[in-house]
């Protein structure tokens, strides 16, 4: 059995600019595959190539066993796509939106009523079926958009930042739906900016500056970070960062909620540095509540990897 999505040296150039640079990966059927990276990393362009919106400059790839170079139109019938914009028609009712996408994707007529009821139930919209979509709350719209994207039961589902702007409870409910779909054999390819969501993915691919810089399970990515990490709680976060950034042995310091996460350089002695940095801060008149070694979070890994590969593109 072939992988649900497989790409090899996929490249997209816009003039001199290389948006996606020889990216290779493969996604298993039924996998929830997270696609991460700072803005401008090439995530969106990659998705556009996979969904047949933009032809690649070079490289090859398949989606649902179909060639992205030659079978673009065929691919469109075998994928579902939902973007952060909740691309439904606000001036159509819930049912009209469902009927429209059913017709567009050629869902067989005898299946339409069943699929409609499935979406209404999945999104919890049975009572709202006659309402204009524009009047629904964001969480509802998002579930309806997901439902419309899978009306035709596509083997591969692309979600482009599907949960941006949605409250945490709706977001959690949404991920339950994603898991249910994946359990049913749907491959889910999802981009996100939320790190707690990235933890939900089976595997994560991290892109920066057009290149794939990491690809593994969330747990192994966390373990893979070799630089020791300290978490400092002080009276003044901003000044703490200013002080520690320039301190010897420190690779990077950044605000993390109310605490400051300090990435030490590879091979540094954590215990010695911990005492040294605490002294340094105290010397500057900054009150140190605590400074402890911690296990890296995905966000720490993410930031460290992006820094190592030239930092994020600033546009």
């Amino acid at each position: 059995m072939s992988a649900a999505v497989e790409v090899e040296n996929l490249t997209k150039r816009f003039g001199d600019f290389v948006a996606v640079d020889a990216v290779s990966f493969s996604v298993e059927t039924g996998e929830v595959f997270g696609f991460l990276g700072p803005n401008g990393a090439g995530k969106t362009t990659t998705i556009k190539m996979l969904t047949g919106l933009v032809p690649p400059s070079s490289g090859r790839g398949t989606v649902a066993g179909l060639d992205i170079l030659r079978q673009g139109t065929e691919i469109k019938r075998h994928i579902g796509y939902m973007s952060q914009l909740f691309s439904l028609y606000a001036d159509l009712t819930v049912e009209e939106n469902i009927a429209f996408f059913s017709g567009l994707y050629g869902v067989p007529r005898e299946r339409r009523a069943a699929r409609r009821d499935w979406v209404l139930e999945m999104a919890g919209l049975q009572e709202q079926r006659g309402r204009l979509t524009g009047e629904l709350s964001l969480g509802w719209k998002q579930r309806l958009a997901l439902g419309c994207a899978v009306l035709h039961e596509p083997p591969v589902l692309f979600l482009d930042e599907p949960t941006s702007g949605v409250d945490p409870i709706s977001r959690r409910g949404f991920w339950d739906l994603i898991y249910a779909l994946a359990a049913g054999g749907t491959t889910v390819f999802v981009t996100t900016h939320y790190m707690e969501e990235a933890e939900f993915c089976h595997r994560l691919a991290l892109m920066n500056r057009g290149k794939l810089i990491a690809l593994d399970t969330p747990a192994r990515l966390r373990q893979g970070l070799r630089e020791p990490l300290l978490e400092a709680r002080t009276s003044d976060g901003t000044r703490t960062i200013e002080t520690l950034e320039k301190a010897p042995g420190v690779a990077q310091a950044g605000l993390f909620g109310r605490a400051v996460h300090v990435t030490l350089k590879e091979g540094e002695d954590v215990e010695r540095d911990r005492a040294r940095l605490a002294e340094l801060l105290a010397g500057r008149g900054i009150e140190v509540e605590s400074i402890e070694p911690i296990e890296p979070s995905l966000e720490d890994v993410f930031i460290a990897l992006v820094e190592k590969t030239g930092g994020a593109v600033v546009d």
Binding site: L53, L92, L104
Partner: protein, 373 residues
């Protein structure tokens, strides 16, 4: 890919589009009330005919003959006396203030000169700021004075050449008969060009265009799905406007209905093509509206809708040949007023056909190329 699936997708798009159009109260207004308002404006208000032109009379003669001349003016229905005086400064003030658009000055000894057969002069002063009224009123006044003089002044030497003019196709030279049919052209342009471009750009703005592009819907199907509804509504408006023109304004219709329909369909191709093109160069509805407006005004002005093509400088006359609106206006007016057939209008039909196919093809190609980005 099966043809049936293709038709189903287009049908689904068209149905969706109609739902959205008719659900939007403002859209309904633009589609069906605006055409009627324009018709009423052009049928009643916008008239280049001169009636009851405000006239100020300086009668320095105050004789039966001078009064009779003034009566002839008012009796014609073209002029209405708004003031009389014997001081020329009053006339100047009336013209300045806009109380009168025309001054009639009858000199002292007017009656005596007329009766004795001596040449005499009657002066007409016009407010030239409205050049149209001035020109038309001048023509009427000239004729009134001549016919009055012909009756009153013994003719010693009859003129050798007598000019008798008669207007064909529109015997009373009513501007309504000329303008109302042309409203059809303006409305079709509005609907097929402006609304189509807005409808496509709106989908780009709210993100649904991207959603459609990753669906099995091809760019060609998308174009058809977006343009067919407005083409149909345009044709419905054609019927509406024609019905009101014939039944309410009693505009004569002498030509073939089939030809009117054919010309409209050909013209709609051009309008849709330009609308589609504008949608490919605009990211927001505001941009689309501005571009459509930039296109709409010059094409309408250079179409002969309000200002005759024959009065334009030669360069502009040439320019109007690539303006589909011009050809369509000519066909519509010829069909309404002259009852002309294809043998007289085939050039315009051919021009519309070629432009329609050409513009629509180019726009569709451009749309296809830009579809993914």
């Amino acid at each position: 890919m099966s043809v049936r699936a293709k038709f189903e997708r287009i049908h689904e798009m068209v149905r969706k589009e109609f739902r959205q159009i008719f659900r939007d109260a403002r859209m309904r207004g633009v589609l069906f009330v605006a055409p009627l308002l324009q018709l009423i404006a052009f049928g009643y208000a916008v008239s280049t005919d001169v009636r009851d032109a405000a006239t100020f009379v300086i009668d320095s003669d105050q004789t039966p003959a001078s009064r009779e001349l003034v009566d002839t003016f008012t009796a014609s229905g073209y002029f209405r006396v708004v003031g009389r005086s014997q001081r020329p400064t009053d006339l100047v003030r009336a013209l300045d203030r806009g109380d009168a658009v025309l001054g009639l000055v009858i000199p002292v000894d007017f009656e005596r000169d007329v009766q004795s057969g001596r040449p005499t002069k009657v002066q007409l002063l016009f407010d030239g700021t409205d050049s149209n009224v001035a020109t038309v009123a001048q023509g009427y006044a000239g004729r009134i004075v001549q016919s009055w003089a012909a009756r009153r002044v013994p003719q010693r030497m009859p003129p050798g050449v007598d000019l008798r003019s008669r207007a064909w196709f529109n015997p009373n030279l009513e501007s309504r008969t000329y303008n109302v049919p042309a409203v059809i052209g303006a409305i079709l342009t509005l609907i097929c060009l402006v609304l189509t471009s807005l409808a496509i750009v709106r989908e780009r703005e709210i993100g649904t265009l991207e959603q459609l592009m990753v669906s099995p819907l091809t760019p060609g199907e998308l174009i058809l799905g977006k343009t067919i509804p407005f083409a149909l509504i345009g044709l419905a408006d054609l019927g509406l406007i024609t019905a009101v023109a014939l039944l309410w304004f009693h505009i004569p219709y002498k030509g073939s209905v089939v030809l009117l329909l054919l010309a409209s369909v050909l013209y709609i191709l051009s309008a849709l093509g330009v609308g589609l093109f504008i949608s490919t160069i605009s990211r927001t509805q505001q941009e689309a509206f501005m571009s459509a407006f930039l296109f709409f005004m010059p094409t309408l002005l250079l179409s002969g809708f309000m200002f005759p093509v024959t009065s334009m400088p030669a360069v502009f006359q040439w320019l109007t040949l690539i303006n589909p609106v011009r050809h369509y206006m000519e066909i519509v007016r010829a069909l309404f007023l002259k009852g002309a057939g294809l043998e007289a209008l085939w050039r315009q039909f051919l021009a519309l056909f070629l432009m329609g196919i050409g513009i629509l093809w180019l726009a569709a190609e451009r749309f296809r190329r830009r579809a993914g980005s």
